[in-house]
C-alpha cells in the first residue's frame, strides 16, 4: 500500500519538521531516534497531542507524546505563568505538523490539517483500530533536556508512492538513528 521510498520520504519530512519546529529556541539541538514500537523499554510519555493531515486517499496522524515534568516544563514554558505546558506544546505540535503539511502539499495538492487535541498516550496502543498502512515511532531529546516522543500513523485507501525532494539546509541539525 505504501512504497519504501514513500515511507522514507515521510520519515525524512518528519525529521526536517522536528528539527525546524520543535526546539523552543532556534539552534537548540534535536536528537531523533527511531524506535520499532512503544513498549516497556521505549515507553511513550503519558500525554499526547494529536493532529491529522488528510488527503483524498490517505490520512496521517501526528501524535506528540510528552511528560508534564519539570525538565519539559522548564524548557518549553520557562517562567511564563500565562500559559500551560499543554497549550505551549499544542502550539509546537501544530507548527511541526504544519511543516509536514507544507512539504506534503508539494506532492499532494489536496490536503487539509486538523486542529490539535490532547489525549492520553494510552490511546496509541489502539492504533490498529485504524488499520494503518505504516506506523513510525521516534524518541526525541530537544535542547538536551526535554524528552518527547512522536508517533506517525499513516492510513491509506490507495497505493501511496512519492519521493520527497527536501532542501538539505537543516540536514546537519541532528542525526537520525534507524532501527
Amino acid at each position: 500500500m505504501i512504497t519504501d521510498q514513500a515511507r522514507h520520504s515521510i520519515a525524512e519530512i518528519f525529521c526536517h519538521a522536528a528539527r525546524a519546529r520543535l526546539p523552543a529556541t532556534a539552534g537548540d539541538s534535536c536528537e531523533i531516534t527511531a524506535v520499532p514500537r512503544w513498549d516497556d523499554q521505549h515507553p511513550a510519555a503519558p500525554h499526547a497531542m494529536v493532529l491529522t493531515i488528510s488527503s483524498i486517499a490517505f490520512r496521517l496522524l501526528f501524535v506528540l507524546h510528552f511528560n508534564k515534568d519539570d525538565a519539559t516544563r522548564a524548557y518549553y514554558v520557562g517562567g511564563d505563568t500565562t500559559r500551560s505546558l499543554s497549550e505551549t506544546l499544542m502550539e509546537f505540535a501544530n507548527l511541526c505538523c504544519g511543516y509536514m503539511n507544507q512539504q506534503l502539499v508539494n506532492y499532494f495538492p489536496d490536503l487539509g490539517m486538523s486542529t490539535p487535541y490532547e489525549l492520553n498516550s494510552a490511546c496509541v496502543g489502539y492504533l490498529d483500530e485504524l488499520h494503518p498502512a505504516h506506523v513510525w515511532a521516534y524518541e526525541l531529546l530537544i535542547g538536551g533536556t526535554a524528552r518527547l516522543g512522536v508517533t506517525l500513523c499513516l492510513c491509506a485507501q490507495a497505493p501511496l508512492d512519492f519521493r520527497a525532494d527536501l532542501s538539505t539546509a537543516d540536514e546537519s541539525e541532528g542525526e537520525l538513528e534507524l532501527f
Binding site: 494529536v50 493532529l51 491529522t52 493531515i53 488528510s54 488527503s55 483524498i56 490520512r59 496522524l61 489536496d110 490536503l111 487539509g112 490539517m113 486538523s114 486542529t115 487535541y117 489525549l119 492520553n120 494510552a122 490511546c123 496509541v124 496502543g125 489502539y126 492504533l127 483500530e129 485504524l130
Partner: protein, 247 residues
C-alpha cells in the same frame, strides 16, 4: 582677213553657244535638284506620317488590350466582392453564434463561481462536526473520571472485604458465615476491578477512534474548502476574462 574675222565670229558664236548651253544646263540642273529635294521631303514626311500612324495603331491596340484587362480585373473584383459578401455573412453568422456561446459560457462561469462560493460555507458544517467531537470527547473524559472513581471505590471495597475476612477469622467459628460473605464481596470487587480496567481500555480506544475520525472530518473539510476556494478563484477569473472579451 575676213576668214579670220569670220572664224573669230564663229568661234565666239560657238563659245557663246557653249556658254549658253552650260548656263541652261546649270539652270535646269538647279531646278531638277529642287524637285528631287521636294520629293525627298515628301517621302520623309510620308514615312514620318506612316510611323506615326503605326504608333497610333499600336497605342489603340494597347489601349484596347488594357481596356480588356481592366474589364477582366473588374469582373474579378466583382466576383471577389461577391465572395467577400458571402464570407462576411458567414463570419457574421459565426460571430452571432460565438456571441451566443460566449453568453452561455459567461452564465455557466457565473453559476460555477456562485456555486463554489456557496459550497465554501460547508466549513460551517465541518466546524459543527468538530464541536460535536469536542462534546463527545468531553463526555468520554467524564466517563474516564467516573471510571477512575469507580475503580477507587472497588479498590476500597477490596480492602474492606480483606479486613472483613481478617475480622471474621478472629471471630472463629462464629465468624465463619461472615467470612464467606467477605470472600464473596472480595470476589465481586475483584471482578469489578477487571471490568473497570476493561472499561478504561474501551474508553481509550473510543478516544482514539473518535478523535481520529473527527480530526479526519475536520482536516478533510479544510481540504474541501481549500479546493472549493481554488475552483471559485478559477471560475471568477474565467468569468472576468469572458466579461473583458465581451466588452
Amino acid at each position: 582677213m575676213e576668214w579670220v574675222v569670220l572664224e573669230s565670229y564663229l568661234l565666239a558664236a560657238c563659245v557663246g553657244g557653249i556658254v549658253a548651253a552650260f548656263a541652261t544646263a546649270w539652270f535646269y540642273r538647279g531646278k531638277l535638284g529642287a524637285v528631287v529635294n521636294a520629293r525627298q521631303s515628301d517621302e520623309l514626311a510620308r514615312q514620318v506620317l506612316a510611323k506615326e500612324l503605326d504608333a497610333a495603331h499600336e497605342r489603340v491596340e494597347q489601349a484596347d488590350s488594357e481596356h480588356a484587362e481592366l474589364e477582366s480585373m473588374l469582373a474579378d473584383l466583382r466576383a471577389q466582392a461577391g465572395q467577400y459578401a458571402q464570407d462576411r455573412d458567414a463570419l457574421q453568422a459565426s460571430l452571432d453564434e460565438a456571441n451566443t456561446r460566449h453568453a452561455e459560457w459567461l452564465q455557466h462561469a457565473t453559476e460555477i463561481a456562485e456555486e463554489a462560493a456557496r459550497l465554501k460555507t460547508l466549513s460551517v458544517t465541518f466546524e459543527r462536526w468538530h464541536e460535536q467531537m469536542i462534546s463527545l470527547m468531553s463526555q468520554n473524559r467524564d466517563m474516564h473520571k467516573k471510571n477512575q472513581e469507580l475503580s477507587a471505590i472497588v479498590q476500597h471495597v477490596l480492602i474492606v472485604s480483606l479486613n472483613a475476612s481478617i475480622e471474621a477469622a478472629r471471630a472463629g467459628s462464629a465468624g465463619r458465615g461472615f467470612s464467606i460473605v467477605a470472600s464473596e464481596v472480595r470476589s465481586l470487587a475483584s471482578r469489578s476491578q477487571d471490568l473497570s480496567k476493561s472499561y478504561r481500555e474501551s474508553l481509550h480506544r473510543n478516544d482514539l477512534t473518535t478523535a481520529a475520525t473527527f480530526q479526519d472530518i475536520q482536516a478533510g473539510g479544510k481540504m474541501i474548502t481549500a479546493t472549493l476556494g481554488g475552483v471559485e478563484v478559477l471560475a471568477t477569473r474565467f468569468q472576468s476574462r469572458l466579461e473583458q472579451a465581451a466588452a
